[in-house]
Symmetry: C2
Subunit: 199 residues, 2 copies
């Protein structure tokens, strides 16, 4: 016998089922929990449960929200003529953190991957097309993977007849990184996408 | 605004309040949770809550348990003449995993630290002394820190008049490590504790 309590074993298993948490960290978290008071544990578990009860998808952009439409779609300060298309809700968070984008978003909830059975019908692509009335630019901000690439091409082609601009975000050497540690594919893209130095 | 939902913000905060989980990991875990079904979330939060409702301290060894006394103290297969003293309940787990110790345990719930106000009264030392009737060896398996050292000395002194053996676990170069990367204090201890090579 390793654990002296079934509840401890179950809690370790629960923590282990989360991504990037191994068995050792799960144990540490469980024993940490055991040292906390009742209030802490109650607050923790109700915070997790309220995700399930309160959070739904915005019927416009399909980002997570508690109100319909979501605060970004409802905001009068956002530019409604430009939509940034992302794969997942956490990508919205990443772009919001830059503080540099003031348009709306559209979350696809995945990318095309025929081998895994992800066809356009599994993604929020139809829903994106239905939003094009007042839009003149759709920024494609998908991850620079093969699937992201294919999805980017697919959406750009769909929007071409509507005469909407469909730029993709740039790929290249990350700021603060060095050429020495940049892989060939990234460096190739950075060379291809070279831009004039403003002098 | 960064998060589009207060529940998401609260869940990120809840995960961030756990040790070794930074804000970025907390976000990842929260978005992972949002992608799971209701069952997964319910199972997760009830596993955490049952720690609070089901787990208590064993009235004999002060390890965490659901039954009184704990399975180790209740087991007839364990050697009741030898007690291994540890700082925290997770140390019991670490020793049980070796599969090499068949005695009982005693969890102090800390080590002496006068500066932080941890005196013998804050630890389960009185409770340890009350268990000495049939015991002839107390293994002191505290962490090799200054406080662990002081507590080891303190307990060894207390038990001396009872003529109970009080060995401490060995400190030295960890198996699989190399001398080159072992700090001076550890290497000094390894030299002092040198033992004959059986030939």
């Amino acid at each position: 016998m390793i654990y002296t309590s079934e509840s401890i074993e179950k809690a370790v298993e629960a923590f282990s089922s989360l991504p990037s948490i191994g068995r050792k960290t799960a144990q540490r978290l469980t024993y940490f929990m055991l040292r906390q008071n009742e209030d802490f544990i109650k607050k923790f578990s109700s915070a997790i449960e309220s995700l399930m009860t309160n959070v739904k998808l915005c019927p416009v952009c399909y980002n997570y929200t508690e109100i319909e439409p979501c605060p970004i779609c409802a905001s009068h300060k956002r530019d409604r003529t430009i939509i940034c298309v992302v794969e997942e809700p956490n990508d919205v968070l990443a772009i919001e953190k830059t503080g540099e984008f003031f348009g709306l978003y559209h979350v696809l909830h995945g990318v095309l991957n025929p081998l895994d059975g992800i066809t356009p019908n599994e993604l929020k692509i139809k829903e994106l097309l239905s939003r094009m009335a007042d839009v003149n630019e759709v920024i494609l901000a998908l991850n620079p993977s093969i699937e992201g690439e294919v999805t980017t091409q697919y959406i750009a082609k769909l929007l071409k007849p509507l005469e909407i601009k469909t730029p993709r975000i740039a790929s290249g050497v990350p700021i603060g990184s060095s050429l020495e540690f940049t892989d060939e594919a990234t460096l190739t893209r950075a060379l291809e996408s070279r831009i004039n130095v403003a002098v």
